[in-house]
Each structure stands twice: as C-alpha cells, then as structure tokens.
C-alpha cells in the first residue's frame, strides 16, 4: 500500500453556465519521503489537485488516501504553503508560526520548547533577523519564507507547496530552493510542489508529474528524476542527464501540451474565469 494515494479524482465546479469539470481521473501514488513536482500550463488544475489533497476541496469522484485513511477535511498533517503566502497580516512572522505550532503541539510541547521550535523553524528559512516584523514590513520573498516556516513547523506528514517561489527574483528563488532541498534532505518530508519552472522541477524532484491542459485535465506523463542527492545547481548545469530531463519536460509542455488557443478565445475564457471567481 502506498503512503499517499490519489485515486481516480475528478472534480466539477458549479458555475453560472453549468458544471465545469476541472479534473478528470487523476491518479497518483506517492511514497513516503518523495519530492513530487506538479507542472502544467496555467489554469490546468494544479492548485485544484493540491487543494483536494489538502482537503479544502472535495473531489466529486474518487478520493485521496493518506496512510490508509481517507482524506475529507483539512488538517495540520497536510500543511499547505499557499500560492500567495496567506500570512495573517496582523501577526508578526513569529506569531504566525506560533499560531500553527500552538495548534499542533499544544499537548506535547512545553512553552519553552514551543518557543525554541518556532525560532528553530524561522532559522531554517533564515528569517531569525526579522521574526518580530509583520508581513507588511517584510519583502515578498521573506513572506514566502515565513509561509514555508509555518508549514514546516507543523511537522506535516505531507508538505503541499503551491508555487512557493513563484513571485520571487532569481537569486532569492535559488536560495530558497537550496534551503528547501536541505530541509527535505534532513527531515525526509513528503512534498508535493506546484511549479511553472522546469529547472526548479528537475532540480528538486524525485518525480515530475506533468498535467494535460484543462478542462477535464489529468496526468499526462510522469518523469522519474534519478539524479544523485545532494544536488548542486552549478554542477548540474553541464550534466547531460540533467539536460535530458529538462528537455523532456519542455517537450511535454511545448509540443505535446502546447496551448492552442486563438487570442479571441483566450480573452473570452479569461473573462468567464474572472466572473466565476467573483461569484465564488
């Protein structure tokens, strides 16, 4: 039996124009300690998959099984790093992590232990210097790091990350990718990460899951990345193996799943998307 099983998941969203089938028959088995990347074109349904695993959305068909138990509500054992960090703006970085830690370790850790644990996790993402600042006083990259620290501090069985480095500049992004690799190496978390960045996917993942375009998106191909760990981004740049993986993902995205939408159509679709998000 697998650690985390996503089996035959389909989901339909009610929209003013009827049901919208976003996912159709998504199946994926994940071993403990795996680092999985989800990659696919914008709007194909990556966040939806993640939200179903998190328990925030309910699959219309199929389901998710974690360690033999069906997932049907959100919980701290499946921590989420949200696409837009989602820190509470009225709490400092420390307090944001504290809220999560108190919730998870209320019974098992003493006050002093909790404090130490919060500080330790902020240290992991190199945020010790600004831990008493509020989100509006720190940069986007720092917010994202606090979001990661908050998720890590929950010691989740599965860490779900929705484009955790999406809004960052290349340098900060590289730095955070290294920290995540380091942390995952040390703690052996099971991670599902959504990304748009092919290099990032190859560098970090054990497996890259490539999704077809929506509507009714599903898993197109799965690529096993068998590069030795720890991985070094500079050394890998000239590694033919690495480049083979890279081009395979690129081929999937730009040949097999090329977005073929006439401009007019795309515009209309965007508009309806906006509308539905407003209604929701």
């Amino acid at each position: 039996m697998h650690f985390l099983q996503i089996s035959q998941v389909s989901i339909e969203f009610p929209t003013p124009k009827g049901q919208f089938k976003a996912l159709d028959g998504v199946s994926l088995n994940i071993r403990q300690g795996d680092f999985i990347s989800l990659i696919g074109h914008s709007g194909c349904g990556k966040s939806t998959v993640l939200n179903i695993v998190a328990g925030l959305y309910q699959a219309t068909e199929g389901g998710v099984i974690l360690e033999g138990k069906e997932v049907n509500e959100p919980g701290p054992e499946r921590a989420v790093v949200f696409q837009n960090h989602s820190l509470l703006p009225w709490l400092t970085a420390y307090q944001n992590v504290e809220l999560a830690v108190k919730q998870v370790f209320n019974r098992t850790k003493s006050k002093a232990e909790m404090k130490e644990w919060i500080e330790h996790n902020l240290e992991l993402v190199h945020m010790s210097h600004a831990m008493h600042k509020r989100p509006d006083e720190i940069s986007g990259g720092m917010k994202q790091r606090v979001g990661i620290a908050r998720a890590l501090a929950m010691q989740p069985k599965v860490l779900l990350m929705d484009e955790p480095f999406g809004a960052l500049d290349a340098l900060t992004r590289a730095h955070l990718q290294d920290s995540v690799m380091e942390i995952q190496n040390k703690l052996g978390n099971t991670v599902i990460m959504i990304t748009h960045d092919v290099d990032e996917a190859v560098l970090l993942s054990d497996r890259i899951v490539m999704m077809t375009n929506g509507p009714a998106a599903t898993i197109g191909e799965i690529l096993d990345v068998e590069l030795d760990r720890p991985r070094d981004r500079l050394a890998l740049a000239d590694n033919p193996e690495y480049n083979r993986y890279r081009s395979e993902v690129l081929r999937f995205l730009y040949e097999k799943q090329r977005k073929v939408e006439p401009f007019e159509n795309a515009k209309k679709k965007n508009q309806t998307n906006n509308k539905s998000s407003k209604v929701a």
């Binding site: 925030l56 509500e73 701290p76 989420v80 509470l88 709490l91």
Partner: protein, 334 residues
C-alpha cells in the same frame, strides 16, 4: 500666491536656522492643518452674522454669533449661581445645626439634602450618560449577533428580513411602546435609575443597533478565503478562529458600523428627549422654545452648537479607539 506658498513663507528663516527641511515641512503641515479650518470657521461666522441681521422672528432678531456667545456666558453664569446657591443653603444649615448643638448637645438634628435646579450643563451630562449607555448596550448586542450572522449564511438569511424591517423605524415610533413597556415592567420602590433614563436609553439602543450589526456581519463575511483556508488547515476551533482571524479582519467594518451607530444614537436621543420630555439637551431645547423669551433663540442656538460639537467629539473618540485597537497603525482612517 497660493495659500500653501503663503504659509511656507514665514518659516523660511526658521529652516535656515535649524537646517532641517523635514522639520520645516512638518511645521508647514501643522500650520496648514490649523489655519485652513480657522479660515473656514471665520467665513462661516461672517455669513452667519450677515444672515442673522436680515431675519426677524416673533422672538426678535435671529441670533448672530455674538448674541450666541453672550447667551453661552449667561448659561455658564446661571450654572455657577445655581451651584453657589445650593452651597449657601448647606452653609446656612450647618450654622443652624451647630447653634442647636451648642445649646443642647442631645438635640435632634436633621441634615437636609438640597437639590439644585437642573442647569444647561446638567442636561448635557444627562444626555451624554444616556447616549453612552444606550450605545454600549446596543454594541454589546450588535457585535456578537453580527459575528454570528456573518459567519453563518443560514442564520443570516433567517435574521436579515427582521433586521431590514426594524432598521428604518424612526425613534419617534419606538418611543410610545418603549415608554409603555418600561412603565409596565420596571416597577420598583427604590429605582436605581429613573424611568425616563431607561426610556431614552432603550430607544437609543433600538435605533443604533442596526448599523453596527449589519456592518459587523458584512465585515465578518468578507474575511478573505485565503485566511479561512489557513484556519481550516490549522483546524482552529471556533473561538480561536473568531479571535485570531475573523475579528482582526473585520475591525475596520465593525468600527464603520460603530461610528454610524453613535451618530444615530446622538441624533435619536435629542429627538427622544424633546418628544418625551425626558431630561437632557432635547428637553432644554424644547423648554426654551416653550419659554419664548427674547433670549430663547440664542440659548437654543447654543444648545445646537453644543449638540453638534458633542456629536463631532463622539465620532473622534470612536476614531481614537479604532486607532488604538486596530492592528494596522499606518492605515489612513477618516
């Protein structure tokens, strides 16, 4: 030359003296914030004076600013006189009783209490206390109810029609019912508070419940989906969810409601006091109107200005409280 440039001028030497532009900018800003309202006020007073000269009522000229200022002084004098009178009565009583005691140490002595007639300032105090109590009671009910209906759309659907129906009811319509109910229900030999106080207060509460309730509900319902997702992932219990996530994000809306409410409360109170002849500023205005002396209009104008100023200060106080409880000190609050 623009006003800003004009205002900057006198401070030029100062800046070269201190050598700090920031300092000068600050002074300019402060002068601006003081002088512009002063100019506005001066223009207003001028127009008022000119207009009052050309209106003649059955009680004499319409009072201009100077008459009103005079009446205000009179009201202060009356208040002082009244208090001095009472003081004198007490002194005389003491002298009388002391004499009695000197004659016969076992004599029975009565210490009377003298009440002063209610002056303008007593009425202000009564009104202030009533409005604050009414507003406090209303907020105490409205905020929790607002939170509950904001969080649960089914409770909202259940309660919303009632709110929408009661909201537009004028205080004057409530007043007879409240008066009757209070007289029927509140019977006690030694009442802690007077009936008229209760009637005014309850009327105020009934009218100022709604803005706070509705705005709280809207604020609570508008908590960002991202934050409720966080709360769900953390499995926060209901109370922590409300305290850590719902309340902080609904604070601006709650205060918008509270400020609307206190404004309404103040307006409603004056009207209710006038109609029900309950002690307070409203009664003062009505009594002056019935008096019909040549001073009446001036005294009513004083009351109107005071009512306006108190309304203004109540709103500012709410703003200060909002600044104090709000997590975002940098937010611009007007």
């Amino acid at each position: 030359m623009s006003i800003a440039a004009f205002l900057k001028q006198p401070f030029k030497p100062l800046s070269s003296f201190s050598g700090e532009d920031i300092n000068r900018d600050k002074i300019v800003e402060i002068t601006k914030s003081v002088s512009l309202p002063m100019i506005g006020l001066a223009v207003f007073l001028l127009i008022w004076q000119l207009a009052s000269n050309s209106i003649v009522t059955s009680l004499g000229d319409f009072p201009g600013p100077s008459q009103v200022a005079m009446q205000f002084n009179n009201l202060i004098e009356e208040h002082k006189e009244e208090r001095a009178n009472v003081q004198k009565k007490y002194e005389r009583q003491k002298v009388r009783n002391d004499k009695k005691l000197a004659k016969n140490p076992d004599a029975e002595i009565i210490w009377r209490k003298y009440k002063s007639r209610t002056t303008f300032f007593d009425q202000i105090l009564t009104s202030l206390i009533t409005v604050l109590c009414g507003f406090a009671v209303a907020s105490f009910i409205a905020i929790p109810v607002g939170i509950v209906i904001g969080l649960s759309s089914s409770t909202y659907s259940a309660i919303n029609p009632i709110i929408q129906t009661l909201k537009p009811v004028s205080p004057l319509a409530w007043l007879p019912i409240v008066t009757m109910v209070v007289s029927a229900v509140y019977v006690s030999d030694d009442p802690a508070v007077s009936k008229s106080f209760l009637v005014s207060m309850i009327t105020v509460s009934l009218c100022c419940l709604w803005p706070t309730m509705i705005n709280t509900a809207v604020g609570v319902a508008g908590v960002s989906k991202d934050l409720t997702n966080v709360s769900q992932v953390l499995r926060l219990d209901w109370l922590t969810h409300v305290r850590k996530i719902v309340l902080p994000s609904a604070i601006p809306m709650i205060f918008t409601g509270l400020r609307l409410s206190i404004g309404i409360a103040w307006m409603v109170l004056i009207a209710a006091e006038m109609l029900a002849q309950n002690p307070g500023l409203g009664k003062f205005v009505w009594d002056e109107f019935q008096n019909g002396s040549s001073n009446s209009l001036g005294r009513i104008m004083v009351a109107i200005l005071i009512i306006g100023l108190i309304g203004f200060f109540l709103d500012r106080i709410m703003l200060l409280i909002q600044r104090w409880v709000s997590w975002d000190k940098s937010a611009v609050i007007r």
